[in-house]
Amino acid sequence: MIKAGQIDKGMALLVKGQPFIVVDREFVNPGKGSAFVRVKMKSPTTGQVLRETIKTQESVEDIMVDDKDCQYLYNDGEMYHFMDTETFEQFEIPMKSFEDYQFLMKDGESYRVTMWESRPLNIVIPFKVVYEVAEAEDAVKGDTVNGASKIVVTETGLKVKVPIFIKQGEKILVNTETKEYLERVNN
């Protein structure tokens, strides 16, 4: 058991007997009210989203998990297919649990997967990732009205707003939480 004030993103909690992954948590102190944590959790099995607001002093049940390095193989439109790089065992994670990850994960790349009682609960995407720009339109000259930016698509299909000087084939560093462009990466 931990205090609700210690809940953090990526943590696994047991709610009504079911495991949930914390996808967002925000400290809220309503005007003239006590301190609460607003938590958004997701079931890794059903994709169900659960919202709760808990007093920071309240106890919640956290669960002990293992992190394993796993290779992301591919997705078939419904499931992400992974392989445990130690045991070479393959397993699946429903895509609806982590919908936007299809645009963040690269085929063949290793990711840390959080396991609980040999069930995969969470996929950990690094905070900053380098992607290759697969599609980019040429910048229109003189178009500086919108802060001189344009949208490009990475090799994973992620759409990112970038400065106009970014070209196809170049590499960019992206914040995977906000999906925001951070900088150009030189080869």
Partner: protein
Amino acid sequence: MLSTFRSGSIPAMDRELVRNRSLLNQGIRNHFITRDYLEVETPVLSPTLIPETSIENFETQFRSDFHPHRTCYLIPSPEIHMKQLIARGSGNIFQLARCFRNSEQIGPLHNPEFTMLEWYTMEADYIDSIAETEELFGSLAQPHTPEHMLPPFRRMSMAQAFWDGVGIDLEKVQSFSQIRTAAEKLGLTPTAMRTTWEDEFNRIFLTFIEPGLPQDHPLVLTDYPHQIRTLAKRKAGTPYRERWELYGGGVELANCYSEETDSTEVAAFFAQEYASLIEQRTASGGVIPDIDDSYHTIFDAAFPRCSGVALGVDRLFMAIHAIKTIQGVILFPFSDRILYRTERYES
């Protein structure tokens, strides 16, 4: 590769930031001075506070060879002294006050030390203060200020927000068991801790209502339930208090009361709130500040009817300039100087 970085850090000296902050302070002063408010300065260090269970305090010691030692507190709001000035006939007053709140999680909206603009308007009520705040926002707006920070303000009662958000008639959940049942029906997990009406209200409000409040313009949420004990006047013939909170872009910016001026009510508030505070902080080990038992006596027959607004200036600055974190508007954010570094995996 595991690497460390400091989250939310800003360059030690950001000229633009310093300049804009100075302009904002000037703009605030101009607004009030041209409307005949007096700018006042009241103590930050105080031997007594107004009891507020929801705000943890900073405690310190006055030590001197010439006087008895005395425990003092850093004020969480300048209200305690500003009302004493009103009692002495100050008329309309405002202050840009440094305030301190302990134990809050340092985050994009919280720094333990922050600046509060607090102003009191005589012979006015909370509704009058809406127009005054709208004018203030109008005069402080910059060319790049987002639409959601510009007047006109939207107005909505808390009862309306509950009805629109979760289909609950607030007047039908006035008892603890009614609101607790409503919370459970909405899917909130019953808690093991003992809760109050206010806790259950806040769980519903924070989970289902606040995130969905309209954000296209500043929103004034009016008429808070009387069960939330404050120094706001009761709204006659209703279960509400004459209080509003102002949201800008979904963030709480200001709080306003038609101030309670009945000394019996103030004395009752002090007694009840202090009793809850002592109970809670005895259990948690938090600071129990001294209070002034005779404070209510300043609310005599001569104390004018008035409305008070407290507005977080750092948050206002963030919103006007579309800056995302409070660390981005404070020159020396607490987190950068004191707190741990954040560890994260980098590719």
